[in-house]
């Protein structure tokens, strides 16, 4: 019995790492055990080695397999979480092809032409400008998530960038000194944070991959986006179209490389969308949990990953 306890102690000791001083422990233990233990260890080892050899070999295989399985399971769990139902797949596929053609035949050529005329610095400024106008949606999302520091950050950014960033063309608030970073959040994420699932997969014409939950976001975003209130509808359409072309000009090649790398581009895009949205919601959740300061102080800590 004592011997058994000693083995357990040694084992726990080994798995604990180097933080403990070994000497004190072994000296307190050994008085009672010093004579009996070492030979016992040897006999035990030899015994189990001789007697159990055939069954052991059998044991090892399933063990290593189960370890592999465990890896798979943990991977698979992540995979299953990133699955989405696709009951209207034929329709979605049709929409996907429509959007694909729209991109290659209209959006991309226009964006490429625009690319050649307008330098990148200007395009980034235009992007900043529109992004600044989207402040209400991010601000409201932060409030709805009770992320008040996020809301304050957003408000500060909007004020600073509008006043000192020439109406939002520049982004001085994300400089190192101010360090007010854009709160990457939207209404779809807000619903996700409160536990609303994606539902099923929808591909909207023009708008692309979505779900019932994220469609709510599209609608909410429309009402919170000042550009939507531009009066004659064709001006609104022109502005939105221009914003889209400008955004596209900054990421020509992204969709192409995803498509080229894919075996089935439709599935690849669907999966990328689901993984991306899922991660965004998880990141928000992580940010909102009260343990946040601890994580910041020890970046190497694996608690972040365990929660993921």
């Amino acid at each position: 019995m004592k011997f058994f306890l000693f083995l357990i102690l040694v084992y726990t000791f080994l798995t604990m790492g180097c933080a403990h001083s070994l000497n004190s422990n072994s000296s307190t233990l050994s008085p009672s055990l010093s004579t009996s233990t070492p030979p016992a260890v040897v006999t035990d080892a030899s015994n189990s080695g001789e007697v159990n050899l055939p069954p052991r070999e059998k044991e090892i295989k399933p063990e290593s397999k189960s370890a592999d399985d465990e890896n798979f399971n943990e991977d698979e769990a992540a995979g299953e979480k990133a699955q989405i139902a696709d009951p209207i797949e034929p329709l979605n596929r049709a929409m996907y092809h429509f959007n694909d053609k729209l991109y290659f035949w209209a959006l991309k050529p226009v964006a490429q032409g625009y690319n050649m005329v307008v330098p990148e610095v200007a395009r980034v400024s235009v992007k900043n400008f529109f992004s600044n106008l989207r402040f209400p949606a991010r601000f409201v999302s932060c409030l709805l998530q009770a992320d008040f520091s996020g809301a304050v950050t957003e408000f500060g950014r909007f004020t600073i960038n509008t006043v000192w960033g020439i109406g939002g063309l520049l982004d001085p608030s994300s400089n190192k000194e101010l360090d007010l970073q854009k709160q990457d959040t939207d209404l779809g994420q807000t619903l996700g944070v409160y536990g609303v699932g994606q539902g099923f997969y929808i591909v909207w014409p023009i708008l692309g991959p979505s779900s019932p939950r994220d469609s709510v976001d599209v609608v909410g975003d429309y009402f919170l986006y000042p550009v939507s209130y531009i009066n004659p509808w064709y001006v609104w359409l022109g502005v939105r179209g221009y914003e889209e072309v400008n955004d596209t000009s900054l990421r020509i090649g992204d969709y192409e490389s995803l498509k080229d790398a894919a075996i089935d581009p439709y599935i690849a895009l669907r999966d990328a969308y689901v993984q991306y949205r899922l991660k965004k919601v998880e990141q928000r959740r992580l940010k909102l949990t009260p343990s946040k300061p601890e994580e910041k102080s020890s970046p190497a800590d694996d608690s972040v990953l365990q929660k993921n």
Binding site: T37, P38, N71, F72, E76, A78, I263, D264, A300
Partner: protein, 197 residues
């Protein structure tokens, strides 16, 4: 006796603590990525004709950086065992070629973007994630490497770009194919993909 035991325990402790050196996954990744950057920046290899040499060099770095079998295994997950050994071998080969052809141009188009290695988190004793970001003039692209410790070396088994894991993304596609088709048909699809690229 007491001393011997203490000495032995200390020795064992040292042995056990070796693989847990902090920073090993991050360092390994950084060293490998820097090797890649060195090839890409090499002025001698700038010309169009040196493209093949460049690719050759990148391939050998890839071999040292990635654990291809682990990559393939995790991508197929449960379906891995549906393939026989020969098929598994061919799958690893084909999958590697698909990935190479898909991403080589992206990598070769590198133009001095900054790469920031900013975080390493240990998932378990043998699994880690190294978080990096590529900083371009207009945006930051987060790229995470997932590494596994096998045979004393940290090797990459998954790359997560903008929150999308390659392993999971391909798994969804392969699952979809294997739900209706045989492994042989999957290999045929991959062979075709490699040819057409």
């Amino acid at each position: 006796m007491k001393r011997q035991l203490a000495g032995l325990s200390i020795l064992v402790l040292f042995l056990f603590s070796l693989p847990v050196y902090a920073g090993a996954p991050l360092n390994t990744t950084q060293v490998n990525v820097n090797k890649v950057l060195d090839v890409l920046r090499d002025p001698k290899l700038k010309s169009e004709s040196a493209k093949e040499t460049k690719k050759q060099k990148l391939r050998s770095i890839y071999k040292g950086m990635f654990n291809e079998i682990e990559f393939s295994k995790r991508t197929l997950a449960r379906n891995w065992n549906k393939l026989n050994t020969a098929q598994q071998g061919e799958f690893v080969q084909l999958f590697e070629q698909v990935l190479e052809k898909a991403y080589i141009d992206k990598i070769l188009s590198y133009t001095n973007e900054k790469i920031d290695f900013y975080k390493e988190s240990m998932n378990s004793e043998t699994q880690a994630e190294v978080q990096t970001k590529v900083i371009t003039s207009s945006k930051e692209i987060p790229i995470f490497y997932r590494l596994i410790l096998k045979d004393g070396a940290w090797k990459v088994y998954d790359v997560v770009v903008e929150n999308v894991s390659l392993v999971l993304n391909y798994r969804t596609q392969f699952n979809d194919i294997l739900a209706k088709d045989t492994p042989e048909q999957l290999l045929e699809v991959l062979r075709k993909k490699v040819k057409e690229q």
